[in-house]
Amino acid sequence: MTEKNNTILPQARHKDLLVQELPDELLVYDLESHRAHCLNRTAALVWKRCDGRTSFSDVAMDLSNEVRVPIDEDVVRLALQQLDEAHLLAGPVEPISRGNSLSRRRLIKGIGLAAAIPLVTSLTAPIIHAGVSSCTLACTTSADCQIVTPTPAGCTTCCNNLGVGPPGLCVAPSSAVPPFCAEG
């Protein structure tokens, strides 16, 4: 029998997050970074128990009851690691111990049930709106593009890779390359 781990889980972050419950998943939208995170059942369960009072052992036991297979505390650690990377925790996470980095493959091998492994998938919400067109200007030759240097206020680049405008735009692939007309 393994020794009980009384290490306490950190607190979950709740500020500036929008949460939507789904069957067996949790969708968390970060209003600060505009990143959306989809937590599978295991990751969601760990996140919900991050209250600054619950121990690793308690959560591992809850998970075992939930998925009906013995769950290692490393599963909880992997969940915390992913939740931390997604900035969904308010407090610090203790570094992974035993000199082992946790891998999904190793844990699946140990548990034998892929669905029990925590998974947080994330994406950055797109900037697709009318405002972006003020960062881009149509052109017919590369000479037209001189009018976009310096870049218009509020734009970090002058490019057409946002999928909102027609080609024939001034394009600045990097700060080292001056804008040129994609069709010029």
Binding site: L18, H34, C38, P126, I128, A130, S133, T140, P166
Partner: protein
């Protein structure tokens, strides 16, 4: 006479300079999804051409104060050889060809309506109706949405949109049936516009409940294979293509959740539109990879 021209509801830095120009010749205001939009031009005949790019469902309006104001100055010889397009006083396009100006006008205007309207969520997607329900195919611009939608229409589906899935709070999809923009052989640009009748089809008029969400990735010569997404994966696939999600998060998330938790969502690759459309409509089950 200047007072009859549409004016922005809110003042805007830079707007005054364009407003002070006195060579406007014609103007029009229209309403779309509760937004008042004004257009003024320096050459009367251009207004009629711009009308072809107004968003689906627009209605003429008498409002003077508008939410968005477009101003088009037409080139005038060697002194000012460029046509200029302004939105709310900011120049957004400068070109020697009017077509470029029209393309930018349409792109900016449609995205403005998609983002600024209250109550509806616009997802970049192709949409068709089939057996009284909608098939929604989210995807980026230039990802082949229009070509696939056209082929689905050719094979009997009802046209809803090749640009946006317009979702209401009940998760239904409304028509946004602009003329289809088809790029021949993958050519660059906005493509040629065709009415839906050119494909032997008709446009839907009523909102439909959604039957399927499919996020396709086109690969030349590939077969069509789909894998089912979890509801959370479905929300992510829709969210990735939702216009103005950063501004309308609280409205959009519950709608996307509603759709993805009720409707099967898939992602996968597809090859040519003709084969994909036929299988999609008549033998959908054969496309799905069983896990």
């Amino acid at each position: 006479m200047a007072s009859i021209w549409p004016r922005l509801k809110s003042t805007h830095p830079g707007l005054g300079r364009v407003e002070r120009l006195d060579d406007w010749n014609a103007a029009e205001t229209f309403e779309c999804y509760g937004l008042q939009i004004g257009v003024k031009v320096s050459k009367r005949g251009v207004l009629g051409e711009l009308r072809a790019f107004f968003p689906p469902g627009w209605r003429k309006s008498n409002a003077v104060l508008v939410d968005r104001l477009y101003s088009v100055r037409i080139a005038a010889g060697d002194k000012s050889p460029f046509h200029l397009l302004y939105a709310d006083g900011k120049r957004i396009a400068r070109s020697r060809t009017l077509k470029t100006i029209f393309d930018w006008f349409e792109s900016d205007l449609h995205h403005f309506v998609a983002e600024a309207n209250e109550g509806r969520i616009f997802v970049h997607a192709g949409v068709v109706g089939w057996n009284g329900r909608a098939i929604v195919m989210p995807g980026r611009s230039y990802s082949g949405k229009s070509t696939l939608v056209a082929e689905l229409v050719r094979q009997g589906a009802t046209y809803y949109s090749d640009e946006f899935a317009v979702l209401d709070s009940r998760g239904r999809v409304h028509p946004w049936a602009r003329q289809l923009a088809i790029r021949e052989n993958g050519a660059a640009g906005k493509g040629t516009r065709y009415p839906v009748e050119a494909f032997g089809g008709k446009a839907g008029k009523r909102p439909l409940p959604i039957a399927l969400v499919i996020a396709f990735l086109y690969q030349r010569g590939a077969g069509c294979r789909l894998a089912q997404l979890s509801p959370g994966g479905g929300v992510m696939a829709l969210l990735e293509h939702t216009v103005g999600i950063r501004q309308k998060t609280e409205l959009a998330l519950p709608i996307l959740r509603l759709v993805a938790s009720r409707v099967p969502c898939f992602e996968g690759v597809r090859g040519e539109a003709k084969g994909t459309a036929g299988t999609l409509l008549h033998d959908f089950g054969s496309l799905v990879i069983q896990e």
